[in-house]
Amino acid sequence: MQVEVNGDAMELPAGATIGSLIDQMALAGKRLAVEVNEDIVPRSQHQSFALSDGDRVEVVHAIGGG
């Protein structure tokens, strides 16, 4: 299936979850927040949240700002 992650198209195997996506991106253990189709997915649900074809995923973190 194809999803969009931070604006870029990404091909994922069927059954991929947010947890597996985070692992694949080498971001495991980092302080981040995830949104799917503009809804927050709480950290506690990352492992179980199954992604679907066409999902728009945003992975964000804190950076310097005023």
Partner: protein, 269 residues
């Protein structure tokens, strides 16, 4: 050795925002530094306890060992204040705040800023009002960046914003407080903390804000873009303290003409 006893001034009431007490009245941003280490040192030197951050997309697959801002400016040591910088609509600002709350494990203090246009980064107040209402309904504690309009400032307070943060001048301009009269009016009318957010260029600007009675000042560029940010951070800390002391002391009235400081009586010429 002098036996002069130490003079004890009556203690100031510390800054309180959303039920939490802070000893420092200087709030600082974390943007525009050369690197994270410089940011960390400058923030330490500023004495700030509340530190703003921005929320952005994580770079995918790029340098996974890159240090994270929150490793240097840790939520255990500082109150992290996520901002909605870069948002031009209420919808984007609300989305950003929800992501920030998730990012910071439910921490719900946010700096709301909804911008109107790129040239001035002046706040879009109609969108700001819409976003503030939605965020407050959702349980956020909203510190709001706003124009220096006393009526809108009051409206934001009545809606339930926990701090009103009018700009002194456009973000990053360093022009200083452009409308002291309005800032003073906002302070006079407000029963929640008023902080000048944006426009400070150097220490005297911060002092002026505090002399006007502001409860604090939030700044980023004035420190980060100084030649020596760590030293400027210290200057700002002192400036905020000086301005606050002068405000509490109450300045002398301004007069049009001179008034001699030495007595005329007893002159021998």
């Amino acid at each position: 050795m002098s036996d002069t006893p130490e003079i004890l001034l009556p203690e100031d009431k510390p800054l309180e925002i959303a039920g939490r007490v802070y000893q420092s009245r200087l709030l600082v941003g974390t943007g525009k530094y050369r690197d994270l280490m410089e940011a960390g040192h400058a923030i330490e030197s500023s004495g700030a306890e509340i530190v703003t951050v921005a929320v952005r997309r994580t770079n995918l697959g790029q340098n996974p060992d890159e240090p994270n801002l929150l490793d240097v400016i840790s939520p255990e040591s500082y109150t992290i204040l996520p901002n909605t910088a870069g948002c031009y609509t209420a919808k984007d600002a609300v989305r950003t705040c929800k992501l920030a709350r998730e990012l910071l494990d439910g921490h719900d203090l946010v700096k709301l800023e909804v911008l109107g246009e790129e040239k001035t980064l002046y706040p879009n107040m109609t969108e700001t009002l819409v976003a503030a209402e939605e965020l407050i309904k959702d349980g956020f504690k909203v510190m709001v960046y706003c124009s220096d309009d006393p009526l809108l400032a009051k409206r934001l307070e009545e809606m339930g914003c926990v701090a009103i943060m009018p700009l002194g001048a456009p973000i990053g301009s360093g022009l200083g407080i452009q409308n002291r009269y309005n800032i003073r009016l906002i302070v006079e009318n407000s029963s929640v903390p008023v902080l000048v957010d944006a426009g400070v260029g150097t220490a005297s600007d911060a002092t002026i804000a505090m002399e006007l009675g502001c409860d604090g000042v939030l700044m980023n560029t004035a420190i980060a873009q100084a030649k020596d940010p760590i030293r400027m951070a210290n200057a700002m800390r002192l400036a905020i303290e000086s301005g606050r002391e002068a405000y509490l002391a109450g300045r002398m009235p301004k007069k049009l003409y001179a008034s001699a400081s030495s007595p005329i009586d007893g002159t021998f010429f």
